[in-house]
Symmetry: C2
Subunit: 226 residues, 2 copies
Amino acid sequence: MPEASLILHHYWRSSASYRARIALNLKGLTYAIEPVNLLEDGGQQHAVGYRLINPQALVPTLVHDGHAIGQSLAILEYLDEVFPEHPLLPIEPLDRARARGIALYIASEGQPLMNLRVLQHLEQLHGFDSDAKNAWVRHWLAISFTNVERQLTDSARTGAFAMGSAPGMVECCLVPHAFAAARFGLDMAPYPTVSKIVDNCLVLPAFVSAHPGRQPDTPAEFRLSE
Amino acid sequence: MPEASLILHHYWRSSASYRARIALNLKGLTYAIEPVNLLEDGGQQHAVGYRLINPQALVPTLVHDGHAIGQSLAILEYLDEVFPEHPLLPIEPLDRARARGIALYIASEGQPLMNLRVLQHLEQLHGFDSDAKNAWVRHWLAISFTNVERQLTDSARTGAFAMGSAPGMVECCLVPHAFAAARFGLDMAPYPTVSKIVDNCLVLPAFVSAHPGRQPDTPAEFRLSE
């Protein structure tokens, strides 16, 4: 099937969108990007047209030959099933479980607590000011990186990347999580294994072009020059 | 391999533990239960011994022939790969993506915001009283059920269960989420499709024996008599 049949509906700064871009790039797939601005029009993800392709009103959505798929980790699993080259998951069930366990930990225990919608709710209904929101985010970031660091250092499977010699599903989640950490000013010094893996990723073309600073909808002040 | 090699480390009331119990039951597997009390000893999930099998310090952990697997959805995927009978996921990639998308939505957008550790943090650091905590939980429960209801009613795939005629990964997540909703007093009337699917599940033996009211560590006051 032609690669031009892949469309990613995303937001430049969303961690979940960033995961999907990395995965598509790691697989060497060509895709079109359709921006969904979470800050404009009361959140374009709530528009009726967008909800037709994603009833969860979230980014990203991958549309493949007209079929819409939501949830970043479901997109990664789908890509691995339909485009098996450059696998995101290892082969053995226990290895797959370990990779999924780390990815799911970041996606379901680390990141949801610092989503834009959660921060907006804490501000609007519970009176959190900027300092309180930043403290909240850094609290959950620190816990999540502490646990991921422990899990990575505990295992002989960890090498240049979480599962050995190539990046995959774990790195699709870890790199956007580290991007959020930098944005909220978290000191990464206590997490040397995480930091080393992230550094190993950031020089790879798949991660370079997936970076939030290099998207069609990146605002000028956040755009990376190179 | 002998079924007695499966041990589930769980907490009776944890949604993620409940998911794993349903999945094991749907597959007809026999397993031993090891309770981990999240409220005693400052949280038994933080004990050094438990962290050896689960560095994320979370429940559940499935130990299969001495190999530990964390994160409920990774456990479900693992069970489907290693014990393919009574599949939790459909066969076609797009169907699998839909089932995973709903399950991940509940597990990563709905449930993490109402975890015990989040509620404890809101109380201890941000002064949330009981009313504020309940309002917080009901807010996120309502959003998540609204979106799941929309996703289920939008699709011709929805039948007696989310993917047709048998429960699977979606129901492993949906039923514990509805249990949390009942606990926090959410009115389920606006979600008739969700409610119907949950009702269809609750009469099945796999769901009956997985219920938090029927576990070895269920406190007497929460124990179901039948």
